[in-house]
Symmetry: C2
């Protein structure tokens, strides 16, 4: 890194020579014994963070990928791993973002802090366009994405609640629960944290849990279309879920980040399509996957006014307190992009992106099916869930990385119920997806069948 | 809100008529008794959120302002309240943002998820330009702003730590500590939470705490230049602070969000200018106030590798775990803006903004001084702290709002040590600042002196 001159051309400063205020020099650090004997602080480590296992899943995937690349420089790796969008942002939506940025350079267009809950006009559009007015604008909280919202929701509920998760599931539900102190220790014998109800979702139950075996918990994290299995819960299943929550006095945190990928018109795209859901559910959503906003960061949460704690106080008020105290609003530029997403033109562009990724999903489904594997998902979701019964999923991951240079995600990374499965992501350029299918056919021809 | 047609022009879909996947209908909610008897959930409210007092300060200010406007429509209110930037983003930096947005529309320029810790090039530039290499790039965590980072740091430390704050101070330190369960109940007799060490900073001690009276705590939140008092701690004071932390095995969370406003070349702009700080301090920073990024959202945290918990484990690793699990990176567009801020041209533009706001600060200082008030801050900080001894600051706030239509912030909003003071913000258009000075002169001529 170059040492950059600090001379500024700042005109009109006081006469005494001054350095750039932004670029004031800081001393190089002294040798450790120059002043103090180095030693640990007396601050206790957070016991809840100690409980966590290894790193967060997706960085671990990246680490293994990079380790492979370091050993095999020049390897042409294809990623069907982390669900990261690859298509450029379509023109109308991109213009919304760029215009949102440019207007900040004009006196009339400049804006500073917005409401922490998001621009009023964006909350109204989400209410009127995406929920047809069945959700009020002030029940919509605009955010920087679903992952962050899940963490903030956990901050709302705190440590004195119990949770249930689908098994397998997106790792953030469990990890944030552990961080909040909602769980006991990790039991490596069963690959589970004590105190969490893992609701097994596998081929045997159509990827919907047998609720008669699930204990009562305060919170139920439920993702549909599901990451990683690609299963989209039917209206009947979601009705069961809402009744189960109601009976138990539980709150469902419904993760609908993949809802627009649902093709089947009979499948609900929002938990609020189910009667009674307003009294038992929160919905988490995101523009990431279908508008290409994984890097732009924009999502929202719906907390209905009817949702109350045991003491009768509204959950919405406490979520609002967390949003205003621990967050400062999504970037105003991202929010302008969100407005463009909801225009008629933006919605058409989004349909194009969804069609593209579901085209990849169909190709991956076809390939793995023809190779004789049991294949799930991929029709109403951008993820394909492939069974490798009797195999360790990290071993399958390694094999495919080493022999086909394709990055996938081992099912075990999503919980013990994911063992023996592999997730393939449809978020890839078409040509890469085609090449990956070719390599997978070469690797597995005649193996699974 | 208009009911928007859901017809899309999506071409090439399956033959069966389908609605826009993004805009699937959701039912209007049923009458409460249609299926269930409405009732509270059985989920306990988070006891820590119950402890919080009223709303977060700044929304409360907005609420009072709007209430005044509702009663006095057409009133020409000037805001010297919330520290929100008003100047447009200068051309080079704005172009950085707009180009960052536009490139997302191209195959080569598109990017999805980045590292949760920020773009490598931005971390390197912060390291090399702002810290002259004394901080390593991997000790820099890019974020969506200082407020969010303070909350994430509190998540790292969890509930089993004790904290000290300057009194008065930015309310987020105390509020997030309460939310984490680090405190006891609020004691309205002293306007303090049990379990927090309030380090009084007022005119009598030059706005630096008498550390001999401060009990040992795990964390010490310290903001310099200070919000709200505008005091910038000297090198001697910060050396005292670092030695105090070292002696007690405490960790300082140093909020340097206003550092570039420091004019005095003898005043440190980073805690890491102080010998030994790498073993006891974390630094929180932000582009908000001097690049006009309050709405764009971009900041960073420095966690030195030497900083360790009592068990010897690195704080940096736990912060990294929180950043990767509870956050998904600052918007890539905002990060492109950050890169432009650190170019030579961007740094010059920032100097222009700082000069502008400090010009306002000088004007406010002069006005209040000439009116006979005791005035602090405003030379190395964008805030002016004005004494109204013997008066309740919320009453002074109301008086100035009602009689001069100027919004300020009552000192008591920053803690009990702020009672009897008022904060004036220099973040305002020049003409508004001039008009505010005129109105304040009219209101207070001959009163204070």
């Amino acid at each position: 890194m170059a040492f950059i001159s600090l001379t500024t051309t700042f005109v009109g400063a006081t006469v005494r020579p001054r350095k750039s205020a932004l670029c004031r020099s800081t001393k190089h650090r002294p040798a450790p014994d120059e002043i103090f004997t180095p030693s640990a602080s007396a601050v206790p480590r957070n016991k809840n963070l100690e409980k966590l296992q290894a790193g967060y899943l997706f960085p671990e995937i990246g680490r293994r990928r990079n380790a492979y690349l370091a050993k095999n420089p020049g390897a042409k790796i294809i990623s069907l791993g982390v669900g990261d969008t690859t298509m450029p942002i379509p023109p109308h939506i991109c213009k919304g973002l760029a215009d949102g940025a440019s207007k900040l350079g004009t006196p009339d267009g400049y804006s500073g802090y917005g409401a922490e809950q998001g621009m009023g006009i964006l909350r109204e559009k989400i209410s009127s366009i995406l929920y047809k007015g069945s959700i009020a604008p002030d029940e919509v909280f605009v955010s920087d994405g679903a992952k962050c919202d899940i963490s903030r929701l956990q901050q709302v509920f705190g440590s004195n609640v119990s949770i249930a998760v689908q098994d397998p599931s997106y790792p953030v539900y469990v990890d944030t629960a552990v961080m909040q102190g909602q769980t006991g220790l990790y039991d490596s014998a069963v690959s589970q944290f004590e105190g969490i109800a893992y609701m097994r979702c596998d081929a045997s139950n159509g990827f919907f849990p047998d609720l008669s075996t699930v204990p009562r918990t305060d919170l139920i994290f439920f993702c549909s279309p599901n990451n990683p299995t690609g299963a989209a819960a039917t209206r009947e299943q979601l009705t069961q879920l809402v009744r189960f929550a109601k009976k138990n006095g539980s709150i469902i945190v419904f993760d609908a980040a993949y809802a627009p990928f649902i093709n089947d018109p009979a499948v609900p795209t929002s938990i609020f399509e189910i009667d009674g859901a307003r009294e038992v559910a929160i919905e988490v959503n995101s523009f990431s996957k279908y508008a290409g906003f994984t890097g732009v960061r924009l999502g929202w949460v719906v907390v209905p006014n009817e949702l109350v704690f045991a003491d009768g106080s509204p959950v919405r008020a406490d979520f609002n307190r967390i949003m205003t105290t621990c967050f400062n609003g999504a970037s105003n530029i991202s929010q302008h992009g969100g407005l463009a997403c909801l225009d008629e033109q933006g919605r058409e562009e989004i349909q194009g992106l969804i069609k593209y990724y579901l085209g990849n999903a169909g190709m991956l489904r076809k390939t793995m099916t023809e190779l004789g594997f049991d294949v799930y998902g991929g029709t109403d979701a951008p993820y394909i869930w492939v069974g490798f019964p009797g195999k360790k999923s990290w071993e399958v991951f390694n094999e495919i990385l080493e022999k086909a240079q394709v990055v996938t995600i081992p099912g075990a990374g999503f919980g013990p119920g994911g063992e023996g499965y592999l997730r393939l992501s449809a978020f890839a350029p078409r040509a890469s997806c085609e090449e990956a299918c070719k390599r997978l056919r070469a690797l597995y021809a005649g193996v699974a069948a």
